[in-house]
């Protein structure tokens, strides 16, 4: 957290901005990528969104008021950029956004950068069956290693609700993975 505060002050200093931005990319690139990838599914889409996210962060840094943490702010930008891409793709493909979950697994397994075995495919299928919010909560907690507080800041959901949703998801996965 303190490191984030230090980074923000450097980013707002025109003389240090470029160096600080390079450091920011080092710290957040991988985490943001996977957060994005789970929403947009394919590596190609995730690459586009990741670049757009960092460009938007760079441009908007002067307006960042530290009302939320840097981490939360960047995750929210990444989420919004991901949704924007999906909506644009849906417009081009004439698919309603609601139809995307049905194609989720199909797109995932066809992606060039998915080489999961049967067990991994099984886990992906179980997660895809959760409601969208619960999917996000589970993935952010388990795979992105975010705290409940951080997830609460990003999704604007109470921590108690998050905990209940997460442990429910874990229980379902543990039961189904054994079947």
């Amino acid at each position: 957290m303190n490191k984030d505060i230090e980074l923000v002050s450097k980013l707002k200093n025109p003389a240090l901005k470029d160096i600080a931005f390079s450091e920011l990319v080092d710290v957040y690139q991988e985490r943001l990528y996977w957060h994005i990838r789970k929403i947009v599914i394919t590596h190609e889409n995730a690459d586009d969104v990741l670049q757009n996210t960092f460009i938007r962060v760079y441009k908007s840094m002067t307006g960042f008021q530290s009302k939320s943490s840097l981490h939360t702010w960047m995750y929210r930008i990444a989420y919004n950029e991901s949704i924007r891409l999906l909506e644009n793709n849906n417009k081009k493909a004439h698919h309603a956004l609601a139809e995307v979950p049905e194609r989720y697994l199909e797109m995932l397994f066809e992606d060039a950068y998915f080489d999961g075995n049967d067990l991994q495919k099984k886990l992906q299928k179980i997660i895809s069956e959760f409601p969208k919010k619960q999917q996000g909560i589970f993935q952010m907690k388990y795979f992105d290693d975010l705290s409940f507080r951080q997830i609460s800041d990003i999704l604007k959901i109470a921590e108690s609700t998050l905990k209940s949703s997460y442990y429910s998801a874990v229980k379902i996965i543990e039961e189904k993975i054994l079947q």
Partner: protein, 174 residues
């Protein structure tokens, strides 16, 4: 009864998670991967794009082509044109034009006509009245004098003729 190996593996599957790099986690549990060296390449690409955008911003533009200047000039021109048209309309409707002013100054009743004149035009009216009353009248008077002179010459001639004719005869006869 032996527990199936597969079920044991499945059972341990999620419990072994956590505290790994995100890429490893996603690769191990979800089967999703990235190209080798992707993050290094991605960072270079991001920094280049950001640098390019900064340079685009800093590029000096022709002063008068900058949007703020362009729109400001255009707005000023439109404003100036509107004001000119409006003032012209107002001036034409409210003020007596110079032709009318001339006509009024030629009129006999200067005092009455001066009531129709705006204060701003009063000087002009006064000058024109002065010109008409003094200068032009003087010219007319001069011309009148000339006429009188010419007429007098004619009369003199005629009188002389008359005198000459009668007196001469008288003188000659007497």
């Amino acid at each position: 009864m032996e527990k199936s190996t597969e079920n044991n593996e499945n059972d341990r599957f999620l419990k072994e998670g956590g505290n790994h790099r995100p890429s490893q986690m996603h690769g191990d549990f979800l089967g999703t991967t990235v190209p080798e060296g992707y993050f290094t390449q991605s960072k270079i690409s991001i920094l280049e794009k950001v640098k390019h955008q900064s340079q685009e911003k800093k590029k000096p533009k022709i002063f008068w082509m900058q949007p703020a200047i362009r729109y400001g000039v255009a707005a000023s021109l439109v404003f100036a044109l509107s004001i000119t048209l409006w003032l012209e309309k107002v001036n034409n409707s409210d003020r007596i034009d110079k032709n009318a002013l001339e006509l009024l100054s030629f009129s006999d009743d200067v005092l009455v006509n001066s009531l129709f004149i705006d204060e701003a035009d009063l000087d002009d009216f006064t000058k024109r009245t002065l010109i008409n009353e003094v200068v032009l009248q003087a010219e007319l008077s001069e011309q009148h004098l000339e006429d009188i002179l010419i007429n007098s010459l004619f009369i003199e001639d005629s009188l002389l003729d008359s005198y000459t004719s009668d007196r001469l005869l008288e003188t000659i006869i007497l």
